[in-house]
């Protein structure tokens, strides 16, 4: 049998280690290029990363340096800002404009405003009530002149040219000095005074001129009990603010005027005297007073409420008397309330509700004018602004008739259109009924169409002349 020795086997077959090395070398030979390439890429990446890191550090360093520099410099200084601004605006825009000359060379002349009021009246009021209607008339022209007289006074003169059946009469509608009593007397009071001829504060609307009113005419109750044009008298009036606090204010107006307020100026009493074949005269004074309270109903002042109580009474027995000397007791009471609400968002949609009641207590001492008469009347107006320049409203009034048992009521829808601040057109229809109660005619068909055209020109007049806006 054949046996080889371990040596021979070993000599014939290489050892494990001897067998591995070549493989390793082969692998190495094969891999080395690959590995070399990989190594090269790695090196490149590393180099790139190193360079990136260097650049990052450099950038951070620069940023830190820049921040340090900026913090030392701070914001641009004022001169730098001015320089930059100058480059952004037109030349001369940074210069102040030269001072303007005072308003007008005629600054010692009064501010003159002219109000013209024309009316078309068509209907049967002439036959039903004996009124002079059914015509087109320029009802009146008012010249309003006013000017500060002194640090404590302003002068106002309102001259009216009134159409009396086609002929114009010139009357002094109002002429007075507005005085600041505190400044005049150098005392710490808030009292203001009015001295001259004026419309006293009686009710909410007596102080307004016809062209300022909510409607073309005064409400029926005012016309019947007080007069077609309200009350105008000569005397002295004082206004005293009573208190004001956080949207509330109260004031007292007191006027002492000649008795001609009710006697001799075409009042209903005058008409009664004429019917009785006599005339009224006056040798005494009348006191007219109104206390009012005003409250803003919300913080923005968009709605407010005002109450007023007025009284008119004679201060002397002979304030109103007949030619024969019969003294006529005259006492009037008036209660008024006005609510206004304005829209905050669009300036359109305001509401106005106004109500007033008048009561007259008269005693003619047997003179045959009105006897012992208690007459009263009331009215209410509701008005809504439906567009920036159009207002629609309704006036309803009930009233006794002086020296009569008759009672009247009137309803008057109307539309006011303000073409602009200085020209207004108003249309209304008035329907009036009368219950004569046996002492006068009863009728239910008195109707008239009213068209009113009102315009003003002259010095810019502020809002009191358009009270319902």
């Amino acid at each position: 049998m054949f046996r080889t020795s371990s040596v021979s086997r070993a000599a014939v077959r290489p050892s494990g280690a001897a067998r591995s090395w070549p493989r390793a070398l082969l692998v190495a030979a094969l891999l080395t290029p690959m590995l070399s390439a990989q190594d090269s890429q790695d090196a490149t990446v590393k180099e790139l990363l190193r360079q990136l890191q260097v650049e990052r550090e450099a950038r951070l360093s620069l940023e830190r340096r820049l921040a340090a520099l900026e913090s030392r410099l701070g914001a641009p200084d004022s001169d730098e800002l001015e320089r930059r601004l100058q480059g952004l605006v037109a030349p001369g825009d940074l210069e102040a404009a030269p001072p303007r000359a005072p308003g007008s060379p005629a600054f010692y002349n009064p501010a003159i405003g002219v109000f013209m009021d024309a009316r078309i009246d068509a209907g049967n009021f002439d036959s039903r009530l004996g009124e002079d209607t059914d015509d087109f008339s320029l009802r009146e022209i008012e010249l309003d002149l006013r000017l500060p007289l002194a640090p404590f006074a302003e002068g106002v003169a309102i001259i009216a040219l009134e159409n009396e059946g086609g002929a114009f009469e010139t009357v002094v509608e109002e002429g007075y000095a507005n005085l600041d009593v505190g400044t005049l007397l150098d005392v710490d009071v808030d009292t203001t005074a009015k001295l001259g001829r004026f419309r006293p504060m009686f009710g909410r609307n007596n102080a307004l001129h016809l062209h300022d009113g909510l409607q073309t005419n005064l409400p029926l109750a005012m016309r019947n009990l007080v007069g077609e044009e309200g009350l105008v008298g000569e005397g002295l009036a004082l206004r005293q603010p009573l208190w004001s606090n956080a949207g509330q204010a109260a004031s007292l107006d007191v006027a002492i005027v000649n008795g001609s307020l009710l006697a001799g100026h075409g009042s209903p009493l005058d008409a009664s005297a004429e019917d009785a074949g006599t005339e009224l005269t006056s040798d005494g004074e009348i006191l007219v007073a109104r206390a009012s309270h005003y409250t803003e109903l919300d913080e923005r002042g968009l709605s407010d409420l005002e109450f007023g109580v007025s009284r008119l009474g004679r201060l002397a027995p002979d304030a109103v008397q007949t030619e024969a000397g019969a003294e006529i007791e005259t006492t009037y009471w008036d209660f008024d309330v006005t609510w206004r609400s304005r829209d905050a968002e669009h300036g359109v949609g305001s509401w106005l509700v106004q109500a007033e009641t008048v009561r007259a207590q008269l005693d003619d001492d047997g003179a045959g004018l009105v006897g012992e008469d208690r007459e009263s009347g009331w009215w209410v107006t509701v008005q809504r602004q439906v567009s920036p320049s159009v207002y629609v409203g309704l006036l309803y009034s009930e009233s006794d008739v002086l020296a009569s048992d008759a009672e009247q009521d009137s309803i008057q829808p109307y539309v006011s259109w303000y073409a602009d601040e200085f020209f207004r057109v108003r249309g209304a229809i008035e329907h009036l009924t009368q219950d004569g109660h046996g002492t006068a005619e009863s009728f239910a068909d008195a109707n008239r169409l009213l068209l009113q055209f009102t315009w003003n020109f002259g010095a810019h007049q502020p809002h009191p002349y358009w009270v319902n806006r």
């Binding site: 601004l85 605006v89 600041d180 968002e345 300036g347 200085f422 809002h463």
Partner: protein, 322 residues
């Protein structure tokens, strides 16, 4: 134990309270602070009230007559406004017949210190270069202002002139605090100038953009930033827009490529909505007055909002800040 716990609690409470009791009785009481005299400043419009607050700071108590959402032409004299006028030490107003309602308020208040021409009445438009000064004046031109367009507070550059007036008036009224007032004014002046530089740079893209306005309240702002006022919805100042005029406005908007119609909150929306609908433009509601007013209106924020709103409506991208 039962006793120890309450005892410990009591000792603890005593340890907490003792220092305060001792302090209350032993520490010297601070002298009551001297009352700070404040000047009562009355402003006709909110922009002037904001200026007074910026420059007067705690030295002034500011009220205003025209509400932020109110048309300056439509202020009604009420007893509460009369009371504000009566109480005021200083009046800041525009002048230029912008506030026609101020006269009856001043007369009713009896506050002679605030009459125009007196030291207490400051017409802030003095020194402001005016726009739209009419050559002839009559009512055929509508409710035209004889001295020029009075809406000067809409020009941020004019605020510099007005702020100087406010500084001078406050310094004259509070001479002991003149240095503080001057410092506050200097700070506001710098802040305003920086803001102007920023706005005129960032919103340079508004130049040449055509717009339509309801009323010519925006003339100063629009001219400052180079916008073109193509038309106003009012045919004449304060005359209600008419159908025939709106038709002309629509035609002009199409011709000029107007993309925005500017209306103030108190102006009826119908006319603006109509022309916008007809032309595809946007209605931009902007108030000339800053808000909120009660909290101390921030004038600069108001202008920033106004310009940003305009830019957005016109599709103008603001440039980077300088």
């Amino acid at each position: 134990m039962k006793t120890l716990v309450p005892l410990a609690a009591g000792l603890l409470a005593a340890a907490v309270l003792a220092p305060h009791a001792g302090a209350a009785s032993d520490a010297p009481q601070p002298a009551p602070a001297a009352p700070v005299a404040t000047l009562k400043v009355l402003a006709s419009v909110p922009a002037y009230a904001a200026l007074a607050r910026e420059i007067g700071g705690p030295l002034v108590e500011v009220t205003t007559l025209c509400r932020p959402t109110q048309d300056i032409h439509g202020v009604t004299a009420t007893p509460s406004l009369v009371e504000r006028v009566r109480d005021a030490d200083l009046l800041l107003y525009t002048g230029l017949d912008a506030e026609a309602w101020l006269d009856p308020l001043l007369r009713a208040s009896g506050n002679l210190a605030l009459l125009p021409g007196s030291a207490g009445a400051i017409a802030l438009s003095d020194g402001v270069p005016l726009r739209e000064v009419p050559v002839t004046v009559d009512r055929s031109q509508g409710d035209v202002h004889a001295f020029g367009n009075p809406h000067v507070w809409t020009d941020p550059l004019a605020l510099r002139v007005m702020a100087a007036h406010v500084r001078d008036a406050l310094s004259a009224a509070l001479p002991d605090q003149a240095d503080e007032i001057a410092a506050r004014h200097a700070a506001f002046h710098k802040e305003l100038t920086a803001a102007l530089v920023a706005w005129l740079t960032r919103y340079a893209g508004l130049k040449g953009q055509p717009v339509v306005v309801y009323h010519r309240s925006w003339t100063y702002l629009l001219e400052r930033f180079g916008l073109r006022q193509v038309e106003s919805l009012e045919p004449k100042p304060r005359v209600t827009p008419t159908a025939s005029h709106l038709a002309e406005v629509v035609e002009a908007m199409r011709r000029e490529g107007v993309k925005a119609v500017i209306r103030e909150p108190w102006q009826a929306p119908d006319a603006a909505d109509f022309v916008a609908r007809e032309t595809g433009a946007r209605v931009v509601e902007l108030a000339t007055h800053p808000e909120p007013f009660e909290n101390g209106a921030d004038l600069l924020a108001h202008f920033e909002r106004t310009l940003a709103t305009l830019a957005q409506a016109l599709g103008v991208e603001p440039a980077p800040a300088p």
